[in-house]
Amino acid sequence: MNKIIIESLSLQYSDGTESLRDVSLDIRQNAVTVLFGPAGGGKSTLLRCLNRLNDLTEVKSSAGRILIDGENILDPQIDVIALRRKVGMVFARPVPLPMSIRENIIYGLELAGEKRRAKLDEAVERSLKLAALWDEVKDRLDAPAIALSGGQQQRVCLARVLALQPEIILLDEPTSGLDPISTGKVEAALQELKKDYTIVLVPHSVQQAGRTADYAAFFLQGELVEYGEGKSIFTAPKEKKTEDYITGRFG
């Protein structure tokens, strides 16, 4: 089933840099869809369109539609705040907010108006367990989140998103600053999470793309070159450019 339908999306930034050209893409529910390709290909831009984070950067022009559950989220009338609760995002650099671990995780819920202590405590435990971090931090939830290691911080960020119980999770190179062990933990967590969520991932390497992708989309200079099941793209790509990139001839 298609959770997100992107219809001929184009976007150009004010300074003319990274942009998208006529991208159409269907993203399946309960699967990991990987957007990969060399830097400047428009992957992050596309992610940031999906939760309208681009509203706050200088965009020159954009066209096309993005439907989530049939609703066009690029419509200026929609409730952006509600959208961002439904579509969570994890960034490349772990950015715990300047608060304790617990506060980081319940921050989004508090913003949404949840005040009941029991609910919040339950959310903290549930989301930390989902992010495979509970055992490491359960004794020091009130420590500042910045005191954790990079890998732990990134899982705090993931847990923070999970606490809101979104339907879609966007991850923008979530493991680019992490060691292999932490990376493995995050990837394993994603495989668990896809049972309940729709996951869109920009991986930080082709290898990660290959490991995690149920579906994969290859982007080159703002254009979608190839899209299909992960297995077929990484073993038998149809396009020459995709093959060149995967085999390491450029990029």
């Binding site: 706050l56 907010l97 949404a112």
Partner: protein
């Protein structure tokens, strides 16, 4: 060749060192001079006279309490005005204003900071004080409140400039993190950006206080200069006299070495100590914040 380079290196290093140390030396010399000229007061004037409520030097009444309270009332009033206005402006410039607006506003605010205070005092006498007299129905428009208003105006640019830099230095990633969690713009500013820039914002406020308490020209022109003890609520709307204005107004007319002369220097000492206290408080706040950050990162 190498030797001459070493020489140049040596001279330049020493010159930079010397200019660095000279700042310390100057402050020490100023303080020494203040003490030398001001300390004799303690021997010449009874403490009971000094801590009295009458400042009337011609009849040997040297009560400095009205001057201290005058300075405090005007400064506190100024901060009550400048604090919300300054932080609000800084938040607007750093967080909300579109880029073109920011590029106009920031230089404009800094220009305001460079406005000579005597010009502001001039405006105060001609515009603000007549307006306040009529509007608030006061016997005179030259009051502590008038001084607070104008001092607030003087402190705002300092606060805006420093606080805006601090807010601007907060990583964009913090804001995006909060937005992505569904925080509104205001929630992001209040719960994430401002706390992250806390130490810079506090420094801004402290610098603003320092600027306000040391300001002379404007307050001398608009506060009426009546050395009356200002501890009632109504004293905000009656004339007061600040420490700075007293020194500026009377220093030119005292006999060198007289009791009055020494007392003016004593007031200078008090002022110096207050400024020092504010500065130490400011830097200890920043220092503590920095140490905490270092501890966390290490």
């Amino acid at each position: 060749m190498e030797k001459s380079l070493n020489w140049r290196e040596f001279i330049i290093t020493r010159a930079i060192k010397a200019s660095g140390y000279s700042a310390i030396v100057f402050v020490a010399l100023i303080f020494f001079f203040l003490i030398r000229e001001g300390a004799p007061t303690l021997g010449e004037v009874d403490l009971s006279t000094l801590l009295n409520v009458r400042w009337y030097p011609i009849e040997d009444m040297f009560g400095i309490l009205p001057l201290i309270t005058g300075s405090l009332v005007v400064t506190i009033g100024a901060m009550l005005i400048a604090f919300p206005l300054g932080i609000g402006t800084a938040v607007y410039i750093a967080e909300i204003a579109p880029r073109w607006m920011r590029e106009i506003l920031k230089p404009l605010v800094e220009l305001l900071g460079g406005l000579p205070s005597v010009v502001l005092g001039f405006l105060g006498i001609l515009l603000v004080s007549p307006f306040l007299r009529v509007f608030l129905d006061l016997p005179t428009g030259l009051t502590a409140f008038t001084g607070s208003l104008l001092l607030g105006g003087i402190a705002v640019p300092t606060i805006v400039s420093v606080a805006e830099d601090a807010l601007d230095a907060v990583p964009r990633a913090y804001r995006e993190g909060a937005w992505a969690l569904g925080a509104t713009r205001w929630q992001t500013i209040w719960r994430v950006t401002l706390p992250a820039a806390k130490s810079g914002v506090l420094t801004a406020v402290m610098l603003g206080i320092g600027r306000a308490i040391g300001e002379t020209m404007t307050v001398m022109m608009v506060t009426g200069n009546a050395p009356v003890l200002a501890i009632k609520l109504g004293s905000l709307f009656s004339p007061v006299r600040t420490m700075t204005a007293t020194i500026a107004a009377e220093m030119g007319e005292v006999a060198n070495g007289s009791v009055h002369y020494h007392t003016l220097f004593f007031i200078g000492m008090v002022l110096f100590l207050i400024s020092l206290g504010v500065n130490i408080a400011a830097s200890s706040v920043v220092f503590r914040a920095k140490k905490r950050a270092e501890r966390i990162l290490s």
